[in-house]
Structure formats: C-alpha cells, structure tokens
C-alpha cells in the first residue's frame, strides 16, 4: 500500500520535472571527486565518492575509489602525525602545527592531531623585512643570539634551498620554545621590524618555564627537510652516508623508511609507477607492514604490469617484436603468473622465427 503510494508520487513527480537518471547524476559527481583529488583536496574527494555510492550503491568504481582514497588518507595522516612529533622534538612548533593541521584536513575527527595541536598553542613570531646584506645566519643571530638557528627561519618560511635572501622579502621569525627570543631583534633597526604578533606576551605575568632544548641531529633534520621538499634521492643518499657511520641509529632507520614510503607515494601520484614500485619494494624489504605501503605496493605493481603489458601490445602492433617481447618479459619478472604475457611472448617468438625463416629463404 505504502509502496504503491510512493510509486504513484514518484510517477507524478518524475513525470513533471524529469528527474535525472542515476547515471546522469553520477557523471558530475565522479568528475567532481576526481577534480578534488587532483587539487589535493583528498577528504572532500572522498566525501564525493561516498555521495556517488549513495546515489548508486552498486557502483563498483565509486566503491573502489572510496577504498583506495581511504587507504591513501590513512597513510598520509600517519605520516603527518610522525612529521609533527619529529618537528616538536626538534623544537619547530610551526612545522608541527602545519603537519597537524594537514592531518586534520585529511581526517577532521583525528583526536591525536587535535590534542597535539592544542598543546602547541600559539606560536609567537616577529615579522622581518629583509635588508641588503642580511643572511639567514645573521637573522638567527639577531633574533635568537645563535647563528645555527638559521635553519628554523629557512624552514618556517619555506625558502628555496641555497638561494640568498631577497631584499624586501617579509619573513616570519618564530619563537623557539626554550630559546631566548628577541622579538624586536637584538640590535633593532626600527624600520626592519614591521610588527610583532600576536601581542600577547605583554598580558602574561609569568612566562612558561623554558623547556629543555631538544637534542637534534642536524643531518637528520636536513634529511627530513629534503623529504619534505620531495628531494628523495638526495635525502636517501645522505641517509646512506649517515647510517654507514651510525648503523644502529633508530631515527635514521625510521627516516629511511619514511623517505622510501614518500618517494613511492609521490612517484605513484606522478604516475611514475616503475619508480614507485622500486621504492616500495625496497621499503617492503625493510618493513613489509609499514603503514599502508603494502597496499600501495600492490597498486603500483598492478600499474607497472599494466603499463608494460600494454606497451608490449603497442610495440607488437608496430611489428617491433623483440621490443614487445622485452616489455612482456618485464611483466613476467614482476608477475610470473601472468598467462597473457607468457602467451604473447610465445606467439611473438613464433612469429619472429617464421619471419626469419622467410628472410633466410
């Protein structure tokens, strides 16, 4: 009875305003999901795939994409939390803050990220306009009384590596917990310091007790930054050197895994599946259950297999038989069970032989 009424209503409604069909509704939803993911908005993209699945619960593509993106987000969140903890340890609260916010953007109900973020609170910083002749080290000397803190300013402002400061550039100089902070600079030329924000310290009667300055291995900090900048090759080379001298260093070993993971992930995103497969295979040898690396490795493996298989087909069609065979052999190296590749190789070899026989006649 109720069903009949509902059906009747649907007939009337459907008839008068031409409700789009499910496939019609799915097309823009899918497009939106893909565009969002391309734009790096992973969580909104995931929600859009979930909407697609609400429109059509049987849509296998939406389901697969949702699962893939969920795994990818989980991996990224774990990595961001790791980054944040490491940044906190080396006394870089602004970096930690950014990593934690990024984790929350991926997983807005992540309680650990929210809690760590609350712990950081406000980071005070001064704004500095660069004048001729100033270097990161001279700024570190002015604000922290310590030239070796240049790194923090470089990191906070995400400056390109190895380039001199641009005159007139406005830099943020963060307070480092546990390091005396001369927010106005130790020898302040009035014009150079634009503002100090937030104007809070004045209202506080007692400053929080300074924390112990954390132990930081500068080389590992550099490596971490290189990973952050996606300069994986140099990060891994530095790590190799470091681990050769300190074979038991845990942080170094962890960092190598992180670098391989990120390298694999980044290559996958750039559709460089061979590279991704190579890095993730190395990682799997170190720790098979690293985050979602196993799943990602499987995906990369599938992509590599597909890529070489299809390349083989293309070459075969162009009658470049030896090259086609080589592509399919790569497939067999990775996936020895691949029946199609095996069969294609046999067929191509037969053809090749026949051609040679004809030629020799």
């Amino acid at each position: 009875m109720r069903l009949a009424a509902a059906l009747g209503a649907a007939l009337v409604v459907g008839g008068c305003m031409t409700v789009p069909t499910r496939p019609e509704l799915l097309v823009p939803t899918r497009a939106r999901a893909k565009a969002l993911e391309r734009d790096g908005q992973l969580r909104p993209a995931l929600l859009e795939w979930k909407v697609a699945r609400a429109i059509d619960p049987g849509d296998a593509d939406a389901r697969a994409n949702e699962a893939r993106l969920t795994a990818r987000i989980e991996g990224l969140v774990a990595a961001k939390l790791g980054d944040a903890r490491a940044a906190l340890q080396r006394g870089a609260p602004l970096q930690a803050r950014h990593a934690l916010l990024s984790a929350l953007a991926l997983d807005p109900s992540n309680a650990s990220a929210a809690e760590l973020l609350r712990g950081i609170g406000d980071v005070e910083f001064a704004t500095h306009t660069v004048r001729a002749g100033e270097t990161l080290a001279s700024l570190a000397e002015r604000y922290y009384g310590d030239r070796t803190r240049a790194e923090v300013i470089w990191e906070t402002n995400r400056l390109p590596p190895g380039k001199p400061l641009a005159v007139g550039a406005v830099l943020r100089i963060p307070e480092i917990r546990g390091v005396p902070f001369h927010a106005l600079g130790r020898t302040p030329p009035a014009a150079a310091v634009a503002a100090v924000a937030p104007p809070r310290g004045a209202e506080r009667a007692a400053a929080p007790p300074p924390d112990e300055p954390p132990e930081v291995n500068p080389l590992l900090a550099d490596v971490r930054d290189a990973v952050e900048r996606k300069e994986f090759a140099s990060a891994l080379a530095d790590l190799d050197r470091f681990l050769a001298d300190n074979p038991r260093d845990r942080e170094g070993a962890e960092l190598r895994k992180l670098a391989l993971y990120r390298q694999g992930q980044s290559a996958y995103e750039d559709k460089k599946y061979d590279d991704s497969y190579r890095s993730l295979t190395l990682l799997a040898k170190l720790q098979p259950d690293y985050q979602d690396a196993a799943a990602l490795l499987q995906q990369a493996r599938r992509q590599v297999v597909d890529e070489h298989y299809l390349q083989g087909i293309r070459l075969f069609r162009e009658e470049r038989l030896p090259e086609a065979i080589a592509e399919w052999k790569v497939v067999l190296d990775i996936d020895p069970q691949n029946v199609n590749a095996r069969r294609n190789i046999e067929q191509a070899e037969r053809l090749l032989k026949a051609l040679e026989q004809r030629k020799s006649r």
């Binding site: 209503a9 649907a10 969580r43 929350l104 109900s109």
Partner: protein, 334 residues
C-alpha cells in the same frame, strides 16, 4: 480559465509520467525524489523550490538541522526544483579543518544595555536589536556555549556560520532589552554573572530572575565572586593568594548549586585577564572551559581555558560589529 489550466496540467502530468529503468523511484511527500541513500547521505532532487530547513524537516526529522544541508551544499540557502541536493545524515567534518583552511567560531561579549548608548559598555537597545537582526538576516546560527565546548571536544560539528552570544556581569538590562529580542529571534545566550553582584540593587539581576531565565533555556555561568583581577596582586603572599582564589573560584559553584539547583562548568575571567598561575587554579577547580576577551574567533583546537571572545562596544557601527564575525582562516593545508 481555471478549468483550462487544470486540464493542461492533467495533460502534462499524464503525458510525461514515463519512467526510465534507471530513474529513481522513491519519493517522499514534500521533499522531492530520493535518488539514493547510504549510511552517510541521502541524495535528493527537490520537486519544488526548497530551503535547507524544509529539507532537514523531511529527511533529518528536524528543521534546525538545515545548516547541515546548507553547509554540505556549498552554503546555499535555496535549492531549485530538479537539482541535486546532498543531505548528510551525520557530521562529516567535526573539527572544521579542511584542505583550504579551518573553521572559526566567534563568541561575542555584551555588557550593559540601555534605552540609549552610554559610554563604551552600555549599548543602546536599538543598536543591539539591529545587530541581532543582522545575524538572523545573514544566516548566522546562534549556538550555545555547551555546544561550542562539545565542538572543542570533537563531539559535535558546528554550523559553518556559528556564533555564540555571551553577556557579562549580570545586568538587569539583559532581561529588559536583550531577552525580548533573543526570544523573538530564537537565539540562545550565556550570562556570566559574578555572584557578589547578583541581587545587589536595581541594576543587577536577582537569583529568582536568573532561575527563570535558566528555566527558559538561557545558560548561567560564573564570572568569579567579586570581579577582581584573578592574577596575583603585588605583595600578595602565597597563603593570601590561595585563600582569595578559593573564594573567587570555588564559591560561585557552591552558590549556583544552592540558588539554581545546578552547578557551573564555565568561567569568564574578570577583565579577561589570566596568567599561568590562574590557569592552574581554574583547572584545579574543575572548570571545563574559561573565556578571555582576546578579540579573535576560535578554531576547534583553541585551548579550552583560553577561549577568545570579542567585546562589542556601543560606538561600533554595524560594519565594525560584523568585522568580529570571522568564520574561516584560510591556509593551504593540502
């Protein structure tokens, strides 16, 4: 004429009522056609022009959840017949952090009100009413302080255009000038009263008035005992300071319990002043949240004992008032 149009309608209806195989076939009275549904979402195509609140009544059983539909569909408040509308069935972004930045919730502080503005802290009734109508017109959703604190604990998602209203000190003028406006617009508010002031003369609210306001859903919370700066005074000994803090922080909850029959969870710092020693005492006394007057909106990860509030002064124009309503901090978090 009318008969003719009716006839046309019948023909049109009859003529186009053909359904394709893949056409959605579930409809609900008033809400349009349900295209599909999962645990998270209902996807709807409205049959006529609908507002988020009307769709929320149909699909979420509660018109006050209209903000969920509004926020999920790009902040739009009108949906045309035939377009796709996604109805989220549960929260989808509790902390309000997104790849492009994060949600902020402004908390406004009012003090005394009067028939006319007088000085900075006596706001004219007309100006107040104008500000409240502005909030309504612009689609702000007034949320309670309890809802706000639940948000900090990631227990609840708040509307994108949330705002909290608070009134400090406990002036009788709240009952005269603010109450009718808030009632009419359906806005909730929190009163932070300092207990020495309650029932003290013509300008203060009495415990009875507070009790009846509480019964109507207005929230009454602590603003210390004497409204003195809670930071240690110069020359105050440890023992003196401890005794003073005990009175300022522990007595209000006791009095609230006795007079209103319920405890206190929140504290507004007198003058908004706080330091680390005060924080420690407030934490010790079990306050769940405490409020300054630092002029800034709040992210969900604000520290619960240092929540920002923006004071509204009588000399502010409507435009200046609106500048306190920051709802989003843009930051690239991709």
């Amino acid at each position: 004429m009318r008969a003719l149009s009716l006839l046309v309608a019948v023909i049109v209806l009859g003529g186009c009522a053909t359904l394709g195989v893949d056409r959605p076939t579930v409809a609900r009275a008033g809400g349009g056609v349900v295209v599909g549904e999962s645990d998270d979402f209902v996807v709807v195509v409205p049959s006529r022009t609908e507002h988020p609140d009307s769709l929320a009544r149909t699909y979420l059983g509660d018109a006050s959840k209209g903000w969920m539909i509004e926020d999920f569909n790009g902040g739009r408040r009108v949906f045309k017949a035939g377009e796709r509308v996604v109805v989220p069935k549960r929260p989808w972004n509790v902390s309000g952090v997104a790849p492009t930045g994060y949600q902020l919730v402004p908390i406004l502080v009012y003090h005394n009100l009067g028939a006319q503005s007088k000085g900075r802290l006596v706001l004219g009734a007309d100006a107040f009413a104008e500000q409240m109508r502005y909030l309504k017109r612009e689609g702000y959703r007034v949320v309670t302080l309890t809802e706000f604190v639940d948000w900090l604990r990631l227990k609840r998602q708040l509307p994108r255009k949330s705002v909290v209203l608070t009134f400090d000190d406990g002036y009788h003028a709240f009952r005269v000038y603010a109450y009718p406006v808030l009632k009419k617009l359906g806005f909730s508010a929190t009163l932070f009263v300092y207990t020495d002031y309650v029932g003290a003369g013509r300008n203060a609210l009495s415990w009875d008035e507070l009790k009846s306001l509480a019964a109507e859903g207005f929230d009454v919370q602590a603003h210390s005992k004497t409204h003195a700066d809670l930071r240690r005074a110069s020359g105050e000994t440890d023992a003196q300071y401890a005794r003073r803090m005990q009175a300022e922080l522990a007595e209000p909850p006791r009095l609230f319990e006795r007079q209103l029959g319920r405890g206190v969870q929140f504290l507004a710092y007198p003058y908004g002043r706080v330091d680390d020693a005060v924080l420690a005492r407030v934490r010790e006394q079990g306050y769940a949240a405490a409020f300054t007057v630092r002029r800034e909106s709040n992210p969900s990860f604000v520290r619960p004992l240092e929540i920002n509030r923006s004071q509204i002064y009588s000399e502010m124009t409507l435009e200046q008032f609106a500048r306190n309503l920051n709802l989003f901090h843009q930051e690239n978090l991709r």
